[in-house]
């Protein structure tokens, strides 16, 4: 059964709606909000318990942050080392400057194999470069093998989380999708039954398809190894049974030495799924004669990452190990789910990674999709100071706006420039307070509250009242008290 061409138009930053608009249908969808909150709560509870148990948790975070920072500061050297070792072990390393190149390289490799079908392990990197629709259009059938990815693929849905991509879909929705697309009558919505349906559906594919595509959790410079962490075993199937393996990985995934996994693996599963270790971690180096694929290719993907290396405040974004702890902790994501971010990388990490990958030409609303509460930074296993990056990107967005003629029509922009002028001199500020007090009297009702404001103010009053400005500011009170005392 062939898959559909699932376009990612909804998650293409170039086409996505700005965040404040994109959230509206989600916020009006109680079922979706409930599904998201439930999934998050399960992971958060498990994670919290394990973090408490791990008495050296903070030391691990510090080490992980340092290891990742060191790797990024020396990325060129470590990538070259990885390439050399991987090649010596029988792998072939390709370099893709952007998504377009990566897709072409992969299609070329498939053509060389005469592959008309390919099995895939879940990899957000492949979603980032929109690989599936490209391959489908070129006549290659793509079979996702992760349960969540199958649900999305068959249901023509988009991922909304980077670890549990189908968390926005409940069991009866899955039942409906499987019944329809797998042609199964009388399928119950028991997750066990549904999972078994997927297992049966895939078994033959694993045993027959000769080319697989994966991502990578980590690339090891010291040995040229690739590490993939997973729960279901479909990863092991894909990287053991086929003849040819293609791994596409962002250039930032590299760790200096294999032993660095002793830190990363302790942090990853606890952060991602609330487990001490994921059921399976697979490590392979190039080609092993007699064991697994005899042809192995790695496609190293830049696609905007190298541009993020220059400034330390931006560079830290690349420390990310894709655990999704940030979005599980995020009170914004909890209400909106992932689709509203218009990117395959949602949540706090998406809010900083997506605009940067797009060279700040798109997704400018994402750095503002945060109340700066800091919960993400608190849980990030590699200590990415996400609020700091958000603020940096906000200033970059504003600096873009400063150059645009249309800025004079943006009430927020004007308001902030004026406010700055007012704050510069106390007399201006005080005058503005007095004028504001008078002006807002128009909107202040008998109960001394404002229930409705025009324009930008309406954004506040649509759900909140505002107490009318008191007749005396604090500084006026202080001044009159001082005078009275004399």
């Amino acid at each position: 059964m062939s898959s559909t061409a699932s376009g990612h138009a909804q998650l293409d930053p170039r086409l996505a709606l700005p965040f404040p608009e994109a959230v509206l249908p989600v916020l009006r969808n109680p079922q979706l909000r409930k599904n998201v909150a439930h999934a998050i709560d399960v992971i958060q509870t498990k994670r919290a318990k394990l973090v408490l148990e791990k008495t050296d948790w903070q030391a691990l975070r510090t080490a992980a942050s340092a290891i990742r920072t060191h790797a990024l500061e020396n990325l060129g050297a470590y990538l070259e080392q990885f390439e050399e070792r991987c090649t010596a072990a029988g792998g072939v390393v390709h370099w893709a400057a952007d998504a377009d190149e990566a897709r072409k390289i992969i299609l070329d490799l498939l053509r060389q194999e005469n592959a008309s079908e390919v099995i895939k392990i879940k990899t957000m990197t492949s979603a980032e470069i929109q690989l599936n629709p490209y391959l489908q259009a070129a006549g290659v059938d793509v079979f996702e093998t992760d349960l969540a990815e199958i649900i999305l693929q068959l249901g023509n849905e988009e991922p909304s989380h980077i670890v549990v991509p189908a968390l926005h879909i409940n069991r009866s929705q899955v039942r409906e999708i499987f019944a329809r697309r797998m042609g199964l009558k009388g399928l119950s919505d028991d997750p066990k039954v549904l999972t078994n349906a997927a297992r049966t559906y895939l078994r033959q594919k694993f045993l027959s398809v000769s080319t697989a595509i994966s991502g990578a959790n980590f690339l090891i410079a010291e040995t040229g190894a690739v590490a993939v962490v997973e729960s279901e075993g479909n990863g092991r199937m894909c990287l053991t049974l086929p003849k040819t393996m293609i791994t596409v990985a962002g250039i930032e995934k590299v760790l200096p030495r294999l032993q660095d996994l002793e830190v990363m693996l302790q942090l990853l599963a606890r952060s991602a799924t609330g487990e001490r270790m994921s059921p399976y971690t697979s490590l392979w180096t190039g080609v092993t004669p007699g064991d697994g694929p005899q042809r192995f290719h790695v496609v190293l993907l830049d696609n905007g990452r190298s541009a993020m290396l220059t400034k330390p405040v931006e560079r830290q974004t690349l420390k990310c190990i894709r655990c999704a702890a940030c979005m599980n902790a995020c009170p914004v994501y909890r209400q909106t789910g992932g689709h509203a971010y218009g990117s395959v990388y949602p949540g706090p990490i998406g809010a900083i990674l997506t605009p940067q990958l797009m060279h700040m030409e798109y997704s400018q609303s994402l750095p503002y999709a945060s109340s700066l509460c800091g919960a993400c930074y608190e849980v990030c296993p590699v200590k990415i100071n996400i609020p700091e990056v958000l603020l940096e990107l906000r200033s970059q967005v504003v600096n873009q706006e400063r150059k645009q003629l249309t800025r004079i029509f943006d009430p927020m922009y004007l308001g902030l420039l004026i406010a700055n002028l007012l704050f510069a001199k106390a007399w201006r500020f005080h005058l503005a307070q007095r004028l504001g007090r008078v002006g807002l009297k128009l909107f202040t009702r008998k109960d001394e509250w404002i229930h409705s404001l025009p324009n930008l103010g309406a954004k506040w009053t649509q759900t909140r009242d505002l107490r009318g400005l008191p007749d005396e500011t604090f500084h006026e009170w202080w001044a009159s008290r001082a005078k009275g005392a004399k």
């Binding site: 439930h38 999934a39 050296d56 030391a59 340092a66 990024l72 500061e73 020396n74 990325l75 060129g76 050297a77 990538l79 070259e80 072990a89 390709h94 370099w95 893709a96 190149e101 992760d146 349960l147 969540a148 549990v164 409940n170 069991r171 997750p191 549904l194 999972t195 045993l207 729960s231 279901e232 075993g233 479909n234 092991r236 199937m237 053991t240 049974l241 250039i251 200096p256 294999l258 032993q259 996994l261 002793e262 830190v263 693996l265 001490r276 994921s278 059921p279 399976y280 971690t281 697979s282 490590l283 392979w284 190039g286 092993t288 064991d291 697994g292 190293l300 830049d302 190298s306 290396l309």
Partner: protein, 244 residues
């Protein structure tokens, strides 16, 4: 391929330019790497019996079946496990000790047998490289008594034999045990599972749904010694990685 060569140069040039103020040469890198802060627990020093008990606890937490035995009892314990499974045909890695291949069962010794044959086997028996008690992880380096990766993947039932001397407490201790970094490894910390549907944990998607472990004691850990086990607070050994 020439496009890819240019891309390689392009990407590396971009990286070099972007990191010129912080990238170090080989000696500088090694020095920086050695100084990275590693104040996490690298080794704990409980008694061997604490590791043993913890490993059993963790394995049972993810529903692996665990039995303990002495070295003398091992062949009989294996037979008992195989019999209890109700299965008859098993794959064995080519280096599996002969006395572990109990009589009365069909053995397919993997000298490069076909995938379809492995698919038809009902179970597999292997040794392991190491067990990490902290997470109940079984480490396979796919040596001759552990077998190719496919044989611990396709059959539905996996019996793994681990000696007490192969147990470590922490993940860093496992890496310290590797005389050189393995080129091929699988870390098993539970049967395959998914939580993709409403976060309901379902076991056994792909990969063996049943994991059985036999823990074999040695002189340091007696099966009878369990009463002497105390939970000790772990004095952490912290600091830098040992040089290699």
């Amino acid at each position: 391929m020439s496009a890819s060569v240019t891309s390689r140069q392009r990407v590396l040039d971009r990286i070099r330019l972007a990191t010129q103020s912080c990238a170090k040469n080989s000696a500088g890198r090694a020095e920086d790497y050695a100084k990275l802060p590693r104040n996490y627990i690298r080794r704990s020093q409980p008694g061997a019996s604490v590791r043993w008990e913890l490993m059993i606890k963790r394995l049972r937490e993810y529903d692996a079946e665990v039995v303990e035995c002495t070295p003398d009892e091992l062949p009989a314990t294996i037979t008992a496990q195989l019999t209890a499974s109700g299965r008859h045909s098993f794959v064995a890695p080519v280096g599996l000790p002969t006395e572990w291949r109990s009589t009365g069962f069909q053995w397919k010794i993997d000298r490069g047998i076909d995938t379809s044959e492995i698919e038809q086997a009902e179970g597999v028996v292997t040794a392991a490289f190491c067990g990490v008690a902290d997470s109940g992880t079984i480490v396979l380096h796919h040596s001759s008594n552990e077998g190719r990766r496919v044989i611990t993947l396709l059959p539905d039932w996996h019996l793994c034999i681990l000696r007490a001397t192969q147990l470590v407490e922490t993940l860093p201790e496992y890496f310290d045990r590797c005389l050189q970094p393995p080129s091929l490894a699988t870390y098993i910390s539970g049967p395959s599972a998914t939580a993709d549907i409403e976060m309901t944990r379902i076991k056994g998607v792909h990969g063996p749904r049943f994991l059985n472990v036999i823990l074999v004691s040695d002189e340091n850990v007696s099966v009878l010694d369990k009463d002497a086990v105390q939970t000790v607070s772990i004095p952490a050994e912290v600091g830098s990685l040992k040089g290699r």
